[in-house]
Amino acid sequence: MKGKKYLKGIVSLILSGLVLGTSFSYAKDYNEIALLEEIENEYTGTPMAAPRLETIAFNDVPNGHWAKEAIARAGALELIKGWDDHYYPNKNVSRAEMLGICVRLLGRNQEAENSTNATLANWDKNVSTKYLWAIGHMKITEQLGFIKDTDYNDAVYPDQTILSEDKGNFLADNGATRSEVAKWICQTLEIIAPDVVNENTYDFHYSNIYNYKDWNSIANEYRVYVDMLNKLDIMIGSDGCFYPNKRITRAEVAKLLENLDNNYYNFAGLTKKMGYVADILYDVEQQNDEDVRHVYTYFRSYDGRIDRMHTTQSRNNIGQITKNETVVYKSGAVGAAARLAKADIVNYLVNTDGEVVYVEVEDENLVKVDAQLYDTRLIEDGQITIKLKDGRYVTCVLKYELYNKNDKTILIDDTKYQMNKLPFTTFYTFTMKGNVVTQIDYKGEEEVYKEQRGIVQKVDIPNQTIYFFDENGNVVSKKWSNELEVEKQDYYETSDNIGYIDEVFKEYLFDKMDSNPESIEAGDTIFMQFNSNGQINSLGVGTNYGVKYGKIKSISYRGVEGSSIVISYDDETSETMDVAPEVMVKKSGRLTTLSTLQIGDYVRVLYNRGIISPNNVYETIKQINITSVEKEVTDVLKGELISFDNYQGEMIFADVEKLESLGWTDFTNIKTIDVDKNCLYYVDDKRVSLDYVKEFMEGNGTAYMAIGRQLGKDVILKLSFRTSRETLLGEDNVSYAKGNGEFKLTSDSKSYVADDGTIVVRYGRLVDKEGIMSPDLAKVVLNGDRSCAIVDINEEITNNELGIYRAKIKSLVERKSFEVYSFSRLLDMEWSYMPLERNFEINSHTDIYSGGQKIMYYDFIDYTDASQIDNIYTIFAIGDEAILLNDIPYVDRGITGQVYKIEGTTFKLKDVVSWNKDKKTWEEISFNDRTMDVTPGEPVIYIKNNEIVDAEEIEVGDKLRVMGLEDGLTQKQSSGGYTGYIIYIER
C-alpha cells in the first residue's frame, strides 16, 4: 500500500507541476486535490502560540526587518525574549544573555530560573541586579564547562567596577564576542564531539578559518569551534574576515539561531517539514455554549504526502477566547494560522506532541537549494526527486524547458544531458520557485582541501611572493613558504603522468616535473595549496605555450644577453623578439646554436605568453626550430611573360634562362611555372598586384623570378619586372653595405642599389634588400645603370679545415682509433712530411674504402688476412676525427680551371693552369686553347667546403682544383684529358 500512496502523491504533483509549467505562475490555475487523499499526519496548533505571539510583537522590529523572520522563529521557540515590547535588535548580546540563550537551547530554562530565585533569596541587595536574573543560567553553564569557575566568580562578584577585560576578567554584562558565541553554541548543541575539541590535536589541514584574512586573530581555544560553525554555514564572516572579537548583536543572534536549523531541531525534538498549503477547510461548531472555529490546513509536504494541521479558536459565553494556534510568519509580518492561504510555500516546525509551533511562508522568490539529484526515473513526467543535505527527499516538478521527455534529457548548466551521462557530481544547486525547479546548476562535492587557481602576472623571487589573476580577474598576491614545492612540466616533456607521484612515493627519485619558483613565468596557470599559515605550500604550474611561424628579417647579436631577431609573418607584419642565450635552436631535427640562424630562414618559435595587463603582453621564447628546405630558392630565372592562366594558376614564360655562376644558361623556349599563393610582384621597385601584372606586364620587360619548390613542383616566390638594359657583373665581394640596399663591390668604386623589387638571395633564402652585408660574395645582375635586378649571395668556400694525410697504419684499436708511423699532410699542392706518430679516431660515420670496396668500420681490424696493419691510406680528417680513408694513389700534381660544360661524368674546364711541381708555380698549359677535360679517377674524392661531396654538387661556372698523377702541361701537349683523384670545388 505504501507504494500506492507514494504514487498518489506524485500524480497530484505532476498535475500541479504541469499547470505551473504552462503558466509560470504558481498561484494561478491552482488545481489541488489534496482533500481526496489520505492524510499522513494529523497535527494541531499549540496553546502556547497566543502568548508567544504577544511577546514577539516587538515595536522595534518593523515588518520587513531583515531579521524579522529569525526573531519570530526564535520567539516562537521561546529561545529569546525582549522587554517592554522591544527587542533592541542592534544592542549587543551580553554574555549573561548569551549563556541564557544556551540554557534555553538546552531546554533547562525553568531549572535555571529556579536556581536564580534560590540564589537571589540570600542575595546582598546592594549588589547591582542588572544581570542577576541570569545567575542560575550562568551556574548551569559553568557546571557544563562553557565558562570557567573563575568566570562565574567574576560574574557574581559584588563590585563589578574593579573588574576589567584587560585583566582577563569575565564581564557578564559586556557583549559576548563572536568567538565566545561560536564556542558556547558548539558546546550547547554538542556540534563537535568533546574528544576532537582539543585545538592541539584537531586536524586544521582542511580548516575553513584560513579563508579569513584575520584568522590569526582567532584565539587558539576558539579555532575549532569557528571552523565547525563555518563548515555548517551557521556562523560565517563577511568581507573576507571573521571578526572573532566583535560583539554580536541581538538581531544577529536571532539569525544565528535560525541558521542552527536541524542542528537544534533534532536536538530539541522538533521536525522541520517543507511543502506548500494544498487546501484549507473551515468549520464552525457550537459546542455547549462555546463557539469553536476549526481551521484545517492541508500541507503537501515535499515527499508528496498530506499533513493536516488543525487549529482552533473558541469563545465561551463570557467572551473568553481560547486558542490552539500556531505562529505564522508571512510576507515580513507575524500572525496566526489565518494568515495562511492556498499555495503558500511553507516550512513548519512540529514538536513531539504533534503541535505545529511555527510556520514560515517562504517568499515566492527564487530559492537556491544544494541537493543531490536522487532519482530521475520520473523524468518523463517532468519530475525529479532530490535529496537534501539533511537527508530528506523532495520530489519536485521541473520547469518545462529543463527536460525533454522524448529524448530523456535534462538541462544542467544550460547544457543538455542524457540521463545516463549526467555531470560527475552528487550535488547540484536547484533554483526553486515554490517546488518548481527553474534551473539546475552544477555544485560538486565539498572541497576536501583549499586550492586556488590563477594566472600568473608576475613572480617576486626575493619576497617569495606571486601575483596572479584570480578567477574574477583581480590581481591577488600570495607569499610562499620555504617548503614550497613547484611542479612544472618543461616544455619539451610530453608525459604528464609524473608530477605528484613523488609526493606520494617519496623514494621516487627522478621527477621531471619538480621545479623551482624561478621557472614560473607570467601567463602560467597555477594551482596553489596553502599551509596552516596561509602561505603557498605547493604549486602546480601549467603553461600557455604557442607557436609562431615566420621568416627572419634581421638578427642582432648582443653577446651574453643573447640576441634579438625580427620576424616577419605571412600577413607582412613583423615583430621583434628577444632570444635568451640558453634558448634551444634546432635545425633538421638536430640541436644547433643561435649563430646558425640566417636572415631569410623560416622558423617556428615556441613561446610562453603571459597577458600581464591589457595592452601588456609578455612572451618568453623557449625554442626556435629552423625549418628545412621548403621556402628555399632553388633557381633564379629570367624570361618574358607570355600569359597568365587564371584557371590553373600558372604563368607561361618565353625565352627562359637560368642564372649560374657563369651567367645565363639553360635556355628554354616556353616554360610554365606555378605561382605561389604568397608570391610578391614588383615592377622595378614598386609592389604591384597580380591583376596589374596580368594587365600590363605580358610581353613587357624582363621578368626575373625566384623559384622555390612545393610538393615537388617549381613555384614562383617573387616576380620582378624591369625594362632597362641588363648587365651581368662577375662574382665579387661586397666591400661596403649601407644597410638600406646600397652597396659597393671590391672591384670598382661604383655604388649599386638593391630596391624592394630586387631579388636578393642569400645562402639560398629569399631576403630583403637589407640582407646584403659586407663581405658577402655576391653575383649581381644589373638592370639599368645602378639598379640591381638580382643579387645572389653565396657562401664562400673554404677547404682549410679538412686535413688530408697520407700514412701507413701502425696499430689500431678496433672501432675506436688507429695510429700511423708518420704522415704527410697535403697543403695546397704539396705534401709536407712529418716524422711523427699520430692517432686518428674512427667511428660508425667513418667511411673506409680499399680497392674500391667499402669496409665497415667494425671490419677495420688488425688480425686475420684482412689485417689493416701496414696498409697505406689517404686519410681525410677534421681534427683527429677521420671522415674518410681511401687507398687512392699518391697524387702530387694537378690543374685548376673553371667548368664551362658538364658532359656525363666529364667536366670541361677552361682557363686551365697546371702545377709545376719543380718550380712550385702554376703555369699556362697553352697560349691558344686553355681548355682541358677532366675525368674522375677510380676512386675519386670531391671536396667542397670541408666536406666530402658528390659529383652532382659541381655546377657550370665552378672553379675546380684537380689533383692527379700526371703533369697537366704534358697531358695537354699529348692532347689528353686529365684524370683527377682529389677534386676540390672552389668557387
Binding site: 498518489k8 500524480v11 497530484s12 505532476i14 498535475l15 504541469l18 499547470v19 504552462t22 486535490i33 481526496l36 524547458e401 525533454n404 522524448n406 529524448d407 534529457t409 538541462l411 544550460d414 547544457t415 543538455k416 594566472i455 589573476f469 584570480d470 578567477e471 574574477n472 601567463g523 596557470t525 601549467g542 600557455n544 604557442g546 609573418y569 605571412d570 600577413d571 634546432k586 633538421s588 631535427g589 623560416y602 617556428r604 597577458i611 595587463s613 591589457p614 603582453v617 626550430n625 629552423i626 625549418t627 628545412s628 621548403e630 587564371n646 584557371y647 590553373q648 594558376g649 619548390r709 612545393q710 610538393l711 615537388g712 613542383k713 665497415m856 661531396v949 658528390d950 659529383a951 652532382e952
Partner: protein, 515 residues
C-alpha cells in the same frame, strides 16, 4: 483514483498540444567525410580528389562509394628507395551518418602500372569500428583481408599477412566549420622474398582536416626496414642489413575564388567569380640512416615527387544590382557572398550600414559553412523567442544542431538584436573549435578595453588573439560595438578565406618542415 488518472491523461494531451516537441540528436553534417585515408598510411600518396562542386550538391552525383586515384609509394624492401606507381581504388563503406557506434568496411586495391620499375600489387580490406562521444569519433580497424606482392625484377616479395600487423587508431574531432583528424600509425609489415625476410616497421602520425573549402592530409612516418637472410626456411637471428627512412606524404584539396572579367563590353554583367578546384599530392623522403655498405651518394639520401592534377573550375552566379555597394569597403565580401549564394535574394535589401542581427549572422554562417537549413519536418523549439514562424528559424535550429550556438537556460536567443563584436568572435571560435588555444577561465585579455569584454567572451577572444586572428585596433577590441551588415559579410567571408587557404600551410608547409 480513476478520476485522478483521467485528469492526468487530459492534461497530458494538453501538454502535448501546448508544448512543442524538442528533438534531440545532433545530426552531424556528413558532407566531407570520406577523405581521410585517401593515401592510406604506408607512405604512399595519391593526388586526392576534387572537392564537391556546388552544383553537385543540388543536382547530385552518382557515387557508389568507389574512387580511383593514381598512386605512388616508396618501396624499401630491397634496401634501396624505389617508386612503385599504380592506381589505388578505394571502396569506401563509411556510413552517411554516424551512430553512437558501429562498423563499416573499407577496401583499398593497388594495381601496378606496367611501366613502373616496382610492381606493387596490394589488396587490403579493413573492418573499421567506430564510436562517437559528443563531437568526437574514434576508430579502430582490423584486417579482413590483406594480400600483397612486390615485384622488383626477378625478386618477388610476398606479404606474410599472418605475421603482419596494422595499427591505425583514428580520432576525428568535429567542429561546425571543420573536422580535424589524427591517425596514429604503428604498423609492422613482414615480407618474404626468395631468400630473405624483410620486416618494415612504420611509426608515425597523420594529421588532416576537412572543410567545405579545403581538405588536407599529411603523414609523417619513420619506416625502419630490416632484412633477415632465409635459408631452407630458417630465418637468421640478426638482420643482414637495415635502414631508416622518413616519409612525408601529403595531399591537399581546396577551392579558391578568382574573378573572371568579361571581354565584350556589351554584356549584361561585368564579370563573375569562379571557384578553382585544386588537388595535388606530394611526398618527401629522407634516408635517416642508410643501410650498411650502402653506396648511395649524399644527394640520393633525399627525394621528392608529386602527383599534380589539372584544376577544375566552377562558375558562380553574377549577382545583380551590385552598384549599390560600389565603393564600400566590404563590396567584394558582399559580392562574393552573393556569388556563393550564401546571401540570396534581392541585393537591394542588403544595406551595408544597417546592423546585422544575431539570427541573420547565424544564417550567413550556416550557409557559408555549407550546411543546409533545418528541413523543418519536425518542429523544434529550442528558443522561446525563435518560433518556427521566425524568418531565420531553420538556420538557428541548424546552428544549434551543429553546435555553433548553444542552448541557453532561459530559452532566449534574442534573434533580432544587433550582433556585437564579441558575440561574433565567440561564434567564430566555436566554428573552428579553437577556444582551447587560450587558458581556461581567462579573466584578462591583452586589449585596453578588457573590462568591457563579457566574461563569456574572454577566453574566445584570447584564443583568436593567440592564433593571430584578432589583433585589435590600436589596442582596442571594441567588444560591445554593433556589427553592420558590411562588417558581418566581411567577417563571414574572412572565415571562408581562412578555410580556403588559411589553415592549409599550418598542416602542409609548416608541419612537413617542422623538424
Amino acid at each position: 483514483m480513476v478520476k485522478v488518472k483521467n485528469q492526468r491523461l487530459i492534461l497530458l494531451k494538453i501538454f502535448c498540444l501546448v508544448f512543442l516537441v524538442i528533438l534531440n540528436a545532433l545530426i552531424f553534417n556528413t558532407q566531407s567525410y570520406a577523405r581521410a585515408g585517401e593515401m592510406f598510411y604506408f607512405g604512399g600518396v595519391t593526388e586526392g580528389s576534387k572537392l564537391e562542386k556546388n552544383i553537385d550538391k543540388i543536382v547530385g552525383t552518382k557515387s557508389n562509394g568507389t574512387t580511383t586515384h593514381s598512386y605512388k609509394e616508396v618501396v624499401l624492401v630491397d634496401g634501396s628507395v624505389k617508386i612503385a606507381e599504380g592506381t589505388m581504388t578505394i571502396k569506401d563503406g563509411t556510413p552517411a551518418t554516424w551512430q553512437d557506434s558501429g562498423s563499416y568496411t573499407i577496401a583499398y586495391t593497388i594495381t601496378p602500372d606496367e611501366t613502373s620499375e616496382v610492381l606493387l600489387d596490394r589488396q587490403i580490406t579493413l573492418n573499421v569500428k567506430y564510436k562517437k562521444v559528443d563531437n568526437q569519433i574514434t576508430k579502430d580497424c582490423t584486417i579482413n583481408k590483406w594480400t600483397e606482392t612486390i615485384t622488383i625484377g626477378a625478386e618477388v616479395y610476398t606479404l606474410n599477412a599472418a605475421k603482419s600487423t596494422l595499427n591505425l587508431p583514428t580520432i576525428e574531432w568535429i567542429a561546425p566549420a571543420i573536422t580535424y583528424n589524427k591517425v596514429v600509425i604503428s604498423n609492422e609489415l613482414v615480407y618474404d622474398g626468395l631468400s630473405s625476410r624483410v620486416i618494415v616497421t612504420h611509426t608515425g602520425q597523420s594529421f588532416g582536416y576537412n572543410t567545405t573549402y579545403s581538405s588536407v592530409e599529411t603523414c609523417n612516418i619513420d619506416a625502419k626496414v630490416e632484412s633477415f637472410a632465409m635459408n631452407e626456411g630458417k630465418i637468421a637471428d640478426k638482420a643482414s642489413w637495415s635502414m631508416i627512412v622518413n616519409l612525408e606524404p601529403s595531399v591537399t584539396m581546396n577551392k579558391t575564388l578568382t574573378y573572371d572579367t568579361n571581354t565584350p563590353y556589351a554584356i549584361s554583367f561585368d564579370g563573375n567569380y569562379l571557384e578553382v578546384i585544386k588537388n595535388a599530392g606530394g611526398l618527401y623522403y629522407t634516408i635517416t640512416k642508410d643501410k650498411e655498405n650502402s653506396t648511395l651518394k649524399k644527394s640520393e639520401l633525399k627525394g621528392e615527387y608529386s602527383l599534380p592534377t589539372f584544376n577544375q573550375t566552377e562558375i558562380l552566379i553574377a549577382p545583380k544590382n551590385i552598384d549599390m555597394w560600389k565603393g564600400n569597403f566590404a563590396e567584394d565580401d558582399i559580392r562574393k557572398l552573393f556569388s556563393m549564394e550564401v546571401l540570396e535574394g534581392d541585393t537591394k535589401y542588403y544595406v551595408p550600414n544597417q546592423g546585422i542581427t544575431r539570427s541573420q549572422f547565424i544564417r550567413l554562417m550556416v550557409k557559408a559553412l555549407g550546411y543546409d537549413a533545418y528541413d523543418g519536418k519536425t518542429e523544434m523549439a529550442i528558443y522561446e523567442d525563435v518560433p518556427s514562424s521566425h524568418v531565420n528559424y531553420p538556420y538557428v535550429v541548424k546552428a544549434y544542431e551543429i553546435g555553433l550556438i548553444k542552448g541557453v537556460g532561459h530559452g532566449h536567443f534574442n534573434p533580432d538584436e544587433i550582433l556585437t563584436r564579441q558575440e561574433a568572435f565567440v561564434i567564430y571560435t566555436r566554428a573552428l573549435a579553437l577556444s582551447n588555444k587560450a587558458a581556461y577561465k581567462t579573466s584578462i585579455t591583452p586589449f585596453i578595453d578588457n573590462d568591457k569584454i563579457a566574461d563569456w567572451a574572454k577566453r574566445e577572444i584570447v584564443a583568436l588573439y593567440n592564433l593571430g586572428l584578432v589583433k585589435g585596433d590600436a589596442g582596442y577590441v571594441k567588444p560591445t560595438a554593433k556589427l553592420s551588415k558590411a562588417e558581418g559579410a566581411a567577417l563571414v567571408n574572412r572565415l571562408i578565406d581562412y578555410l580556403r587557404e588559411g589553415i592549409e600551410p599550418e598542416y602542409v608547409e609548416n608541419l612537413i618542415n617542422y623538424d
